[in-house]
Symmetry: C2
Subunit: 193 residues, 2 copies
């Protein structure tokens, strides 16, 4: 898992991810990318076959990183209320060092919505993975369908608020809105049958 790539490819992939986090993927071009990371377009193709597969490999790594961060919060949140997980992820995602991950997510997600074929398989599971991760921490007495609906609401609310925050830069307003949601979420769970 740690080193699924030949050593040279792994280095280039890491550098590419760093570059993508800075510049996005929409107008990513091999020559400027290669120049920035001290390589050549020739070599990126050599190691990854095509630009498309390079980008898609990079996105897999990026997605795994963020999902592992979320999974860690779920783990640390055992015993606490469900809303604490939401608050923890919000803090993680709105920290300066992690913002760029979300920006990249929103960009790729938007592109994938328009061209599902090109960003193949990215949408597949992009939503359901998050929903399922959230659903497992909800009270077991609730039906699976109910837990999925509630998890959908929680995930979508956080996602929507993150989009607001990234767009407006208004951390105060978006954080207050999240707090309203989080502050009512535990009670909402109690009400549900």
């Amino acid at each position: 898992m740690k080193q699924a790539y030949p050593p040279r490819a792994a280095v280039l992939l890491d550098a590419t991810i760093e570059y993508m986090l800075k510049h996005g993927v929409a107008d990513l071009s091999l020559r400027p990318l290669a120049a920035k990371i001290g390589s050549k377009a020739r070599l990126l193709i050599y190691h990854f076959d095509s630009k498309e597969s390079l980008v898609s490999e990079a996105m897999v790594v990026v997605r795994d990183r963020v999902q592992k961060a979320f999974a860690a919060m779920v783990e640390n949140g055992r015993g606490h209320s469900e809303s604490q997980i939401i608050r923890a992820f919000w803090r993680w995602a709105t920290s300066r060092q992690h913002e760029r991950y979300l920006r990249l997510f929103f960009e790729v997600h938007g592109l994938a919505l328009q061209k599902p074929a090109r960003y193949g398989g990215y949408l597949e599971g992009a939503v359901s993975t998050w929903v399922e991760m959230m659903a497992v921490v909800l009270p077991a007495r609730l039906s699976l369908a109910k837990r999925r609906s509630l998890a959908t609401l929680a995930v979508s609310t956080v996602v929507g608020l993150l989009m607001d925050y990234l767009s407006s830069g208004d951390k105060k307003r978006s954080s207050q809105a999240l707090e309203i949601f989080a502050g009512n979420f535990d009670a909402l769970l109690l009400k549900e049958t």
Copy 2:
């Protein structure tokens, strides 16, 4: 307002919008676009000066259309509960004929997050306009800041759920999540001071 453009330009702009709703903007290219709408790249530049301004003019029109639809729902919702406006907009946005507007929104929004300079001024007001439109229908007894926070929550929740729906295609699950939110929103307003 109705015809701010010379007649020929207005026709091309409408056709361009239709094309953008179908193919997105990320890899929009003048020659394929022109070919599809029975024109030439030469003429698009002639009428709109540059590709960039053509796209940006088109997005202004698109944004106005959607915001007018929302404003109409706010108007029709006077006298009803606040959650009815949320439900009405959800129905509007998830209808087959309007989905493409949201897809385009998410794409452009994602691109704008990554390249704010290029999609200049699109992010400006992209969020605040929706929040303010929602805030005005909330109870006047609440402070402006409180209304903004609640409006932020409502708008972001709907946006997040729309993103889920567009990505997963799972109308049932996303609609159930929206209903949980809408069903609790009116009571939430009563609780707030």
